[in-house]
């Protein structure tokens, strides 16, 4: 972790990739090269432009990437608007890593994995997917269901098509909300598509997306016979400190920044639905 609570390190933007009309992926390096710090899949970092704001973002890149960190960021507020205007060479501040991680070295090991993502919800799961790809022998079959509003909104479509879809042992199912020209794939919302695909209730499921998509997807999975203990998700609430002290991201007695952001569904079920 960055040495001091609240005090960031400096990072430098070394690449900006336009993924969708409102999502860009930023490659960040430490000022003297390398990564700002190490992390595990699912962990987050506080990014800031002094004078504009500071906010929590999931680290999109896998820790198996030894050269840089990546953040896929959707433009939706003051800070993210500013970030979207950045060019290569811009310095930003980074602190972290914060929170727990998906249990890639514990509960997920040796399991078949089903990833279900909606929109920018792919960002935290991409870290796990690429971690699993880099340690392929430790995991079973990988299936990925990913949906977005339109085909232009699929984040980093080239990596999905040119890498994930080409790999043995990985199945990718893409869907978009409404039919559009140039798309011959599936059309429909993610929860309905998951039901249609009908997965065997074994292995582990990792779900991330808009709250409404998570809600209905989980319902679909439970109806299919999955148990709550097999399903993980990652949460996001307003955060300022990232270390369980500023008092705003709690769900019941759990701090999302410190005890989360990754929760198993049975654990989440014991907490107030205040998220």
């Amino acid at each position: 972790m960055t040495k001091e609570t609240l005090v960031p390190v400096l990072g430098i933007v070394t690449d900006v990739r336009v993924d969708t009309p409102d999502v860009k992926t930023f490659r960040v390096n430490a000022v003297d090269g390398g990564k700002c710090f190490e992390h595990m899949p699912g962990q987050c970092a506080m990014l800031s432009i002094p004078g504009v704001g500071e906010a929590m973002f999931s680290i999109t890149s896998s820790p198996t990437n030894k050269e840089f960190m990546e953040f896929s960021i959707k433009k939706c507020g003051c800070l993210t608007n500013w970030l979207h205007q950045m060019d290569v060479g811009q310095m930003i501040t980074v602190r972290g890593p914060y929170g727990n991680a998906f249990p890639v070295e514990e509960d997920l090991k040796g399991q078949d994995l089903l990833f279900i993502a909606g929109g920018i919800g792919l960002a935290p799961l991409r870290s796990v997917i690429n971690y699993v790809r880099a340690n392929r022998e430790n995991y079973g079959k990988v299936r990925i269901v990913y949906g977005s509003r339109t085909k232009e909104d699929l984040v980093d479509y080239p990596e999905i098509v040119n890498e994930w879809c080409q790999e043995a042992g990985i199945e990718v199912f893409l869907t978009i909300d409404q039919a559009q020209e140039g798309w011959d794939g599936h059309v429909g919302f993610v929860p309905a598509y998951v039901t249609e695909l009908g997965f065997d209730p074994h292995g582990r499921v990792l779900v991330c997306g808009p709250p409404i998509m998570i809600k209905f997807t989980t319902q679909a999975l439970l109806e299919m016979g999955f148990d709550k203990t097999q399903i993980y998700t990652t949460m996001e609430l307003r955060m300022k400190c990232g270390v369980g002290k500023c008092g705003r991201c709690n769900i019941g007695d759990q701090y999302v920044c410190k005890d989360g952001p990754v929760f198993r569904f049975d654990q989440l079920g014991e907490l107030p639905a205040e998220y």
């Binding site: 005090v7 002094p50 939706c76 270390v243 500023c246 007695d253």
Partner: protein, 339 residues
């Protein structure tokens, strides 16, 4: 046990070589401020308008400074506190409140801004000779007759009894012009305080069921709606509270760079949890519930049963709508001993 004559008090405070923060008059308020000769000391005031929290976790403090030039950023950290100081005349409830703050700021990862200040402070506690009507500290394991401090003072009219309990306290008291005193006299004062406390209206509240095991039951109570209805969301309770520690981190343009500072925030405010897509606590019902659930259920659930209310009674005094935590405890509590 030692004692000194009442007229020695201000001389003793003035003789302390480090800065001394004590309850002094500031306009119509009594606040903990740096004591200087000529100020009006108010060691008699129970439930000071502002709390010793101001010293350890100030209402705002600079964290770091940035210089922005083109695409580059330069970061300079604010120096941590390095000067010793004394907080003089802290009540038992407010000392318990500092222990609550310790649980937050000294938990891993340590908040070094707070930790430095905490380390350099010596606390002179003050027994409550005359507890106020709004006091209910004993419900939270606080003894108003025996603050847990480096040095403790007991008022006895023409003299002050005092005793040091730590090395810091003994070092502080070394130069005080004290004489040996009778332990029994202090025991009598403590017994008198206990009698006075027991006669107070909120002396004994029923806290059964305020714990992690009853979290969902308390959260789902239909009573929150009615309880919170008068709440204006002004945040007075959080600012007067000695344990409320929620904070915001903000930046401002100094004209010569960007100053990043930390300031108190309040869970009572509508933008406290506001995100780009909305807020998870959309009405005052959720915000009001959050504050009391945190103090009475969430905090003890995470901290070995320690409540983050200390029974100081300030929220009773300060709320413009007469809302307070005692009403919540009575409404949501179990059993009938609350009547």
């Amino acid at each position: 046990m030692r004692k000194f004559a009442a007229d020695q008090l201000t001389k003793i405070i003035s003789s302390i070589s480090t800065p001394v923060y004590a309850p002094v008059e500031d306009g119509s308020m009594v606040v903990y401020d740096r004591y200087e000769d000529g100020m009006t000391l108010r060691l008699d005031k129970v439930g000071t308008d502002k709390t010793p929290k101001d010293i350890l976790f100030p209402q705002w403090e600079n964290l770091m400074h940035f210089r922005m030039e083109g695409k580059t950023i330069q970061l300079t950290e604010e120096e941590r506190a390095k000067e010793d100081y004394v907080i003089f005349g802290v009540r038992a409830c407010d000392i318990q409140a500092i222990k609550v703050l310790d649980r937050v700021f000294l938990a891993d990862p340590i908040d070094t801004y707070y930790a430095a200040r905490r380390e350099h402070g010596t606390i002179v506690g003050l027994a409550c000779g005359e507890p106020a009507k709004s006091c209910f500290c004993k419900n939270f394991g606080v003894d108003p007759a025996k603050p847990d401090a480096d040095v403790v003072l007991w008022p006895a009219g023409d003299c002050w009894y005092c005793e040091a309990y730590t090395d810091k306290g003994r070092a502080l008291m070394e130069s005080w012009p004290t004489e040996a005193a009778d332990e029994a006299a202090v025991e009598t004062i403590k017994a008198e305080i206990a009698v006075k406390y027991d006669a107070l209206p909120f002396a004994k509240l029923n806290l059964n069921g305020f714990d992690g095991d009853h979290l969902m039951e308390k959260f789902d109570s239909p009573k929150w709606k009615k309880l919170s209805m008068p709440c204006l969301g002004c945040g007075s309770c959080t600012f007067a509270c000695p344990t409320c520690q929620c904070y915001d981190i903000r930046d401002y343009d100094t004209g010569n760079g960007i100053q990043r500072y930390r300031c108190w925030d309040s869970c009572m405010y509508s933008d406290f949890t506001l995100m780009a897509h909305g807020t998870n606590r959309p009405t005052q019902v959720e915000r009001y519930r959050q504050r009391f659930m945190h103090k009475l259920v969430y905090f003890p659930s995470r901290n070995d049963g320690m409540y983050s209310c200390v029974g100081c009674g300030r929220c009773i005094e300060k709320c413009p709508m007469n809302l307070n935590i005692v009403k919540v405890i009575k409404a949501l509590g179990e059993g009938d001993s609350n009547d």
